[in-house]
């Protein structure tokens, strides 16, 4: 899933303020980041803002970002989840920049059912500790191996497995009437 050699080389350039490298990282990862934001936010414009803010945060925090297996994608996804928890704050930090970006004003509204599922999931995630929410999103929704997700949030895999187990039980209770189908976390690393 992660082509870490390409990613690592780009990140090495990007963190030294190489704009072209940031552009290429955006090309590689923006679809995943946007889809993740859209999975948590009912409004397309909010999802766009949060996805953009995640990349702007990648630049702002370039000195402390921890790539996982050479890739910044896990960091971007965790950041997206955290920004989506408070979309308003994410937008206010970058309002000067976001205001200048072109908008498609014709986006169709999502269906009521989709909105409800998203809201319920977002609310449930909001009630979790940030680290547990991030672990759940990375493993269950993004299909990241548990070891990589653990590394992304700074936990030992054994601790991560335990916390994830608790989170899944809790979400299953919270969302029981929506019959969520959650894929199990993949153990270990991708080949």
């Amino acid at each position: 899933m992660i082509d870490s050699s390409e990613d690592a080389a780009l990140w090495d350039r990007a963190r030294r303020d190489d704009g072209a490298a940031f552009g290429l990282l955006f090309d590689l990862h923006h679809a995943r980041v946007y889809r993740r934001a859209l999975g948590l936010l009912a409004n397309t414009h909010d999802a766009e803002d949060v996805a953009a803010a995640a990349f702007f945060e990648l630049w702002r925090k370039r000195r402390t970002v921890r790539p996982v297996q050479g890739s910044v994608l896990p960091w971007l996804l965790v950041t997206t989840v955290n920004l989506a928890r408070n979309a308003q704050r994410a937008k206010s930090r970058y309002r000067h920049v976001l205001h200048t970006l072109p908008r498609d004003e014709t986006a169709a509204p999502p269906s009521a059912e989709v909105v409800e599922v998203k809201q319920r999931l977002a609310e449930s995630l909001q009630n979790l500790a940030p680290i547990d929410g991030a672990l759940f999103v990375l493993t269950a929704l993004e299909g990241l191996p548990l070891a990589e997700a653990a590394e992304a949030v700074g936990l030992k895999p054994s601790t991560a497995r335990m916390r994830l187990h608790r989170t899944r039980l809790r979400l299953r209770t919270d969302l029981h009437d929506l019959k969520p189908s959650m894929q199990p976390a993949i153990e270990g690393n991708h080949p």
Partner: protein, 262 residues
């Protein structure tokens, strides 16, 4: 079924903003510079207000910039972006000194300042009126009027009213100290950031922190405060991140860190 692709126009805009990083056109970097300038100004105000006893020590630190005002003061009040005519510059003028006051309770007011060595183009300093209404901030390193002109421009959001008192000045900067290990220490100035920058430990003692330690802090915690030798630890400084102010070593530490400095 709603679309799951980011709108192409919006994506192109975000990408353009990212590729502008490292160039003069980067809004992200420009905004960071403005936020940084405000944090530094607020830090300076806090220092003067609360640490009159320490002010003498601070002014003698290596790397300190001293500005002597020249000529007449000009006072003006405007709403939105406007120019202030300072008249012809004296031969020894190197900066403009501007006391900027927010009259409105919202919007940004800023002006261009002398760039730090190695930076492309001028930097900026300014004030966020939403948190500084009625407060006066002195900017001692404003750019001189462009060649052939006698006015400086104050940029403000439309509808934001400000007043300014401005005059020419001549600026001089002392050399940083160098310790036995060859590390520079003193105050960040137009030459950049020394290896060790001044900080006060939580026990009240003044010393220095490594600029690189400061740079690496991106969450709450503690960093060591040293003597100028860079090896003797005299205490620690508690550290927290101020919302909306990007972390940068060029902060005077008092502007950003908590515990005892305000």
């Amino acid at each position: 079924m709603s679309t799951i692709e980011m709108d192409t126009g919006f994506a192109r805009g975000v990408r353009a903003e990212l590729t502008a990083i490292g160039t003069k056109n980067s809004q992200l970097q420009r905004h960071q510079r403005r936020a940084r300038a405000v944090a530094t100004s607020v830090g300076a105000v806090v220092m003067v207000g609360a640490l009159t006893g320490a002010a003498l020590v601070i002014s003698n630190l290596p790397g300190t910039t001293t500005v002597v005002p020249l000529g007449n003061e000009v006072t003006a009040t405007h709403t939105g972006t406007a120019s202030i005519d300072l008249g012809p510059a004296p031969a020894n003028a190197t900066v403009a000194v501007v006391d900027l006051t927010c009259v409105s309770g919202q919007g940004w007011v800023s002006l261009l300042t002398v760039p730090t060595k190695g930076d492309e183009g001028p930097s900026g300093a300014g004030v966020d009126c939403a948190v500084n209404a009625g407060r006066t901030i002195r900017i001692e390193d404003s750019l001189l009027p462009a060649a052939g002109t006698t006015s400086i421009t104050v940029t403000a959001d439309a509808g934001t009213t400000w007043s300014a008192t401005a005059q020419y000045g001549t600026s001089s900067t002392s050399e940083w100290g160098v310790n036995a290990n060859g590390q520079t220490y003193g105050v960040p100035n137009v030459d950049g950031v020394p290896d060790l920058t001044p900080a006060r430990a939580s026990n009240g003692e003044w010393g220095y922190v490594f600029s690189d330690d400061l740079l690496a802090m991106d969450r709450e915690g503690f960093i060591n405060v040293y003597r100028a030798d860079g090896t003797t630890i005299i205490g620690q400084q508690a550290f927290h991140i101020v919302e909306n102010i990007p972390l940068d070593p060029r902060f005077i530490p008092q502007g950003e860190s908590g515990d005892g400095s305000e």
